[in-house]
Amino acid sequence: MKVVITGGKHEADYIVNTLKEEHHQLIVINNDRQFAEYISTNNDIPVFPGDPTKAYTLSDAECDNADVLLALSDNDTDNYIACITAKKLFNIKRTVAKVKNPKNVELFKKLGIDSIISSTYLMAQTILNESSVENIIKTLSIEDEKIVMIEIGVEEEYHLVNQRIMDIPFPRNINISCIFRDPHVIIPKGDTRIKAEDKLIIISTPSEKEEIIDFIQKKR
């Protein structure tokens, strides 16, 4: 793959080192002359000191028809311009922009940037998904969010502990697909008893998710 990396310091350095191992064709463009020299002395790749929001810089660096352009500067607007210039004038297939303002994730998508990375946005999503305060580890949506997979840890005081699955009055649309009882993986049958410390893998629909979580976590 032909990859153009513009802006960024630690990010650019790290990505260069990671992609270098896999023999990608790398081009680095950076506004900071000192940093450009640092990358250039440590790696055997073309490095161009310059402004990636200017078409002639991308042209000098021979970025035409690259597979990916990464825009990693600290300025959201500049990252947008670098990506749009790459797409409109240099036929670069995929553009990736880093953004500081998490509100720009949706906006940049609307404006035609292929991938947008915001550490704040990712952090918020991770917290929403994990709800780490409770013993819910993960929920995963599949098939366009029509199906959810819920992973719940069973605690000692839950009402289902030591009950057989066939005896538990479960809500509708629930399927306990798998029980993880360290180190065993159990595919449950009606007479399987749920134990404390079990991890239940449940398949359900998004609308029933809350009800199921409430049901499982009911205490004795």
Partner: protein
């Protein structure tokens, strides 16, 4: 939805004077700049609204009634910001008339395929010089 607002982004000499002129003709003008001080360039005859804020924040644009804009003129001092804002006005808010001031004529290529109009002080000055020079020659 009625589109009756005339929005100017960037209260520099050009922006402030366009805002004043349009206000004098009876337009409902709203001018945005990130610093309060910039509005000193407005003339006394300006009777529109002034909004202090960063126009690249959609909340600021919406607060300035961008959804009701019939025209927007973008004259901040950064070409990149100007292009970015013009794209937001075009793709997100579908403002029917968009004018943008650009210093670098190369950047105009990013507006191709849209109805956004670019104003290049460089091209205008060059043409003016050629005119004056030729006149002087006669």
């Amino acid at each position: 939805m009625k589109r009756n607002k005339f929005i100017v982004i960037g209260s520099g000499r050009l922006g402030a004077n366009i805002a004043t002129k349009m206000s004098e003709t009876g337009e409902d003008v709203i001018i945005i700049d990130s610093t309060e001080d910039a509005f000193r360039k407005l003339q006394e005859t300006f009777s529109g609204y002034q909004i202090v804020g960063d126009a690249t924040d959609l909340a600021v644009l919406e607060n300035a009634y961008i959804k009701h804009a019939k025209a927007v003129v973008i004259t901040t001092d950064s070409d990149n910001t100007n292009i970015y804002l013009s794209h937001i006005c075009y793709y997100v808010y579908n403002v029917p008339k968009i004018y943008v001031r650009l210093s670098d004529t190369d950047k105009g290529k990013l507006l191709e395929g849209t109805y956004i109009k670019a104003i290049y002080p460089f091209t205008l000055s060059l043409a003016e010089f050629m005119d004056q020079y030729e006149e002087g020659d006669v």
